[in-house]
Symmetry: C2
Subunit: 358 residues, 2 copies
């Protein structure tokens, strides 16, 4: 069992990582809660909700199951969860447990952040990607006009990561979370990059995965502690996301996983860094690794205009300029404003080249 | 012009009080905002939105007007305001101005709290009651099942109180805000109680009103600074509100103003304090003053059960007990748990007595 402490001006918290710890959640609570609402999705609920319920060993536990998938991060589901919380009689001494991937973490976290102006919540991440989403206190739902546009900064009181739950995760979801690990590796000089790219996803061991997870969490925690509200270095975590988010939105959510889209964005960030900063980067190594591990490259030249429009509308955009995170080298990120026309040219030649090479 | 500083762990801010200061809002800003969205209601908008707009003297100012009244504090209006903010291109460097009473402050404040996880907002209160709602950082919308159930703690960057705007306020709304002043007077030994009850609302001067406003704000600010997240003394601000909220909900919002309902609750708090704590309180003085100033007493004995049920469901309820704020004497509040059956008896005899006396 590992314990990583995350400092936060709002509320500091521990991330506990271990095998099978979902059964012992009670040991980690240092408060009595008048009632507990477990929010989970239709896939995760049937696998793990009962374990959490039993591990809590108290009265007044309720379980709410929402449809699996990004589309549950919407305003109606948000409101319905509030309705349920009221009907179950949750008060200010109650707890919400987010059991699932990033979708559940973001959704249930935002419900907790706004229920009676905020009650305690615990993240129990069950995807590899959620190593990212469960750290840093960002919670949100989507607006019809863009992802994560309605939300808060609201840290959990605890993150309880049972690595055993990753065993049931489909390969596509492993790919997704692994791409975020690669992103973190690109932001740090911890040696994680070499470790990650020397693996093949089909043959990775649980022990290795746990090690990477821990390293990824530490890199992310380090950054968010320096800059909780994303006015400075936290922006670096957006590496690969300007294009990644645009691809997700343009294809319609669910066609690619978040991480699969981000993987394309990471490759593009390498490419633009080479052009704009004359950086020398292992772009070929990443390209080969992504291909070997079956990351889809779903971008087409006839969508360039739409993608640029979406990139302009990105939440991280300020004063209507397109800001990207680029790299001087692995472990040395910078934010950089790329002029719209230039970006369009880069994207066009990048996509053409990848399609020819692919 | 007066300046009251409010410390907050989230963000400290100033409350500036003065006559006609709405025209000079630009002088009070210490940042450049990429765009500004003024959110106001259908009554206030036509009176003051243009003044604020002109006083800002910059590009990219947008005005959104919602229907006047409590029913605008709902999830659809909240979502629509997000839509507008996105369409107008507000980014993280943008500002929201809440121009209006407590409804607009709560609604626009909650939009600001959740737009892209929080952007700056300024309160420009235009009701007497908003001296209360604009201080302390509580923002919220209503759920169908209860008031203010969805919200956050999210302080403004500035409160700009132009007392000149109170001139256009209807008498009913003066009564409403004045009741909250009386509440604050009951919680403090500042001498405000005697000042307030020696006045008649029809003949009050703007200078007196400004003085009371400032005293009320200071009392409230003092309390919220001690206890930002309402785990202790802040609960005292709930004096009169357990019954007040129940009456509002039972009659349907808008029949009584918030303060008119709270006034009945204050009288009841005196009554229960006499019974439970053997306190000696100026209940007759308050009763006479309320009658002279035309506060309606809209409670009927056949609604006792509904009122008790509503009081049990109050957000401030913990572990399902009914907690009330009572007074040992003026300036000496305590929280007190009143057993349900006892409370029912108190409420019945209180209502019967008031109806006979009324
Ligand atoms: N808050 C943040 O800082 C942050 C950071 C990154 C991503 N996110 C958000 O995270 C979301 C993506 O998260 P995600 O990739 O975990 O998606 P997800 O929560 O939708 O999970 C992916 C799929 O895996 C299933 N699943 C989850 N755990 C499982 C398990 N143990 N066994 C079998 N199936 C399982 C889910 O039911 C779902 O179908 C996005 O909405 C994104 O915006 C948030
Ligand atoms: N956040 C808090 O701490 C807090 C505290 C107390 C109350 N509240 C909330 O405040 C709300 C009540 O606030 P309110 O009483 O100010 O109600 P309000 O905002 O609805 O205003 C009352 C009426 O007066 C009109 N009006 C406002 N200013 C005017 C002016 N200058 N001239 C003419 N007409 C004007 C409005 O259009 C409205 O019709 C409730 O929703 C309550 O929950 C919040
Ligand atoms: Zn991501
Ligand atoms: Zn009130």
């Amino acid at each position: 069992m590992k314990n990583i402490h995350v400092r936060s001006t709002i509320q500091s918290y521990d991330i506990v990582i271990g095998n099978h710890i979902r059964h012992h959640i009670k040991d980690q609570l240092d408060k009595n809660y008048s009632s507990i609402l477990i929010i989970t999705d239709s896939n995760v609920g049937k696998l793990y909700a009962q374990d959490i319920h039993d591990g809590l060993n108290q009265k007044n536990i309720f379980i709410e199951i929402v449809d699996a998938g990004e589309q549950s991060k919407n305003i109606e589901t948000f409101y319905n969860l509030h309705t349920k919380a009221i009907e179950y009689g949750l008060d200010r001494q109650s707890l919400i447990i987010a059991l699932g991937g990033g979708v559940i973490g973001d959704l249930a976290g935002f419900v907790a952040a706004t229920y009676m102006r905020g009650i305690d919540f615990i993240q129990v991440p069950t995807t590899l990607l959620a190593h990212d989403s469960s750290v840093g206190g960002k919670v949100a739902i989507n607006h019809d006009k863009g992802k994560n546009l309605i939300g808060s900064f609201y840290p959990p009181v605890l993150v309880l990561y049972d690595t055993d739950t990753l065993q049931t995760l489909p390969p596509k979801e492993i790919r997704s979370g692994y791409a975020e690990l690669i992103k973190e590796a690109m932001l740090s000089d911890s040696g994680l990059w070499n470790k990650l790219l020397s693996q093949h996803l089909d043959r990775i061991t649980p022990a290795d995965l746990e090690q990477f997870l821990e390293m990824g969490i530490k890199i992310k925690a380090e950054i968010v502690q320096q800059d909780e509200r994303e006015s400075g270095v936290r922006k670096f975590l957006n590496l690969g996301h300007t294009l990644g988010h645009a691809i997700e939105a343009d294809l319609g959510y669910g066609v690619l996983t978040h991480g699969e889209a981000v993987a394309i964005g990471l490759l593009f960030a390498f490419y633009v860094s080479e052009q704009e900063l004359q950086a020398v980067l292992p772009i070929q190594e990443l390209r080969d690794w992504l291909k070997r591990n079956e990351y889809p490259f779903l971008v087409n030249t006839d969508r360039i205009d739409e993608l640029i429009d979406l990139m302009k509308r990105d939440k991280k955009t300020e004063h209507n300029q397109i800001q990207m995170v680029l790299l001087n080298k692995i472990g040395d990120p910078v934010t950089h404003i790329v002029e719209e026309n230039k970006l369009k040219n880069y994207l066009t030649s990048f996509v053409e080249r990848e399609i020819i090479n692919g």
